[in-house]
């Protein structure tokens, strides 16, 4: 997909990359977008156009590094976006996968203990993800916000590039998917099995895409802010 700009229509973005529905949702934009362009929607919802397009491009395009645009953003806006993302995992995605898993296990003959172990593995992934969300909420985000307050008037701060690093949560979700695909044994309800695996796939995709926003936007800003002090 070509990079998004202020003249791109929202419907074209969603049609080409349906997972952006959740991103738009975090900005308060819901379905029924008509033929509005990004600039119209941003005006209506009082969103910074540059910020909005940068988030979307980082989310959609793996090779997009938003270096120059960074300086103009306030950290609190990115925090607000990522906090909503975390809330979406906590309140929707995780319970959804748990529900699918519970249905699947419920319908699976009891001698198939494989799926129960996969469910336990997911529980471990869940704990780790919730722990990170908790750390974001109570440690990382407040520290950045505080540092930003102290730096008011001193902007723009120097921002260095950071490198993407392997996320252990992403790695475990990959493992869980591979285990379901390659190592599942015995009988199971195929329809519910499909529901579980697609739900985990979409979580993996969303985490991967939002990790780029964490690592390529918030991380360098957070480092720059703490260096200044």
């Amino acid at each position: 997909m070509t990079l998004i700009n202020k003249d791109t229509k929202l419907c074209d973005i969603i049609l080409q990359e349906p997972s952006t529905i959740t991103v738009l949702d975090r900005f308060g934009i819901s379905l029924g977008v008509g033929d509005a362009r990004i600039s119209d929607a941003c005006h209506e919802h009082d969103i910074d156009v540059n910020f909005f397009t940068t988030i979307l491009n980082t989310y959609i395009e793996e090779n997009y590094f938003p270096q120059t645009a960074l300086l103009a953003f306030s950290a609190s806006k990115i925090i607000e976006y990522l906090a909503k993302t975390n809330e979406y995992y906590e309140k929707n995605v995780i319970p959804n996968i748990e529900r699918h898993f519970a249905f699947l296990i419920n319908k699976t003959p009891s001698q198939n203990s494989n799926l129960v172990l996969m469910q336990q593995f997911f529980a471990e992934v869940k704990t780790e993800l919730l722990q990170r969300i908790d750390d974001d909420r109570n440690k990382w985000f407040p520290t950045i916000a505080l540092n930003e307050m102290k730096n008011i008037g001193k902007m723009p701060y120097p921002v260095k590039d950071t490198e993407d690093f392997n996320d252990p949560i992403e790695e475990k979700i990959d493992d869980l998917i591979n285990m379901l695909i390659m190592h599942l044994k015995g009988e199971y309800d195929h329809n519910l099995g499909y529901a579980v695996i697609t739900a985990i796939f979409s979580l993996k995709k969303d985490i991967k895409q939002n990790n780029r926003i964490r690592n390529r936007i918030l991380m360098p800003i957070s480092q720059a802010l703490s260096c200044k002090l």
Binding site: L117, E171, M179, E187
Partner: protein, 179 residues
Amino acid sequence: MSDFNVIILTHDTLNAIGLRSIFENSFGISAYIADEHYIDTFNTTKEPHLFFVDSLSLVANLGFFLPRRAKTVLLTNDHTPSDDFRTLCVNDNESDIINIINTFFTIGNEVEKNTTNSLSQREIEVLRLIAAGKINKEIAQELNISINTVLSHRKNLTSKLVIKSISGLTFYAMMNGIV
């Protein structure tokens, strides 16, 4: 070749019977036509040498056939190539089919030796110790091997099982009765 074990799994009965008769008449091998319960009751101690499957059965049992892709042949109606599996077109004439099957024997044997997905005894021991929470140094001491050897076993485990994290490996070990 009499101990060569061939499984045919297809919804098309005539294809299955035709393929079985080619194996019997031209290769002296008795192929087994599997029914839909075959995969569910599959016994890993008797790994067949070659599987012939139609696309429906393949898709329905992808988790079973992907790790066995080296010895799986997809039955097709035309010559569209598949990225993951070798193919055999059921509409070809008999002599073409026999020639193609002949190439599967040589490749199948070779591949089986090199890239079989089953773990070696040593890899299983390393996996058991990983699952017990041991670090590389402890595993090396316990098995009396160098750390580099432990690392190479771990690398093989990860590439065979496609599982990277320690908890993933631990759950795999639990699922397979290794711990």
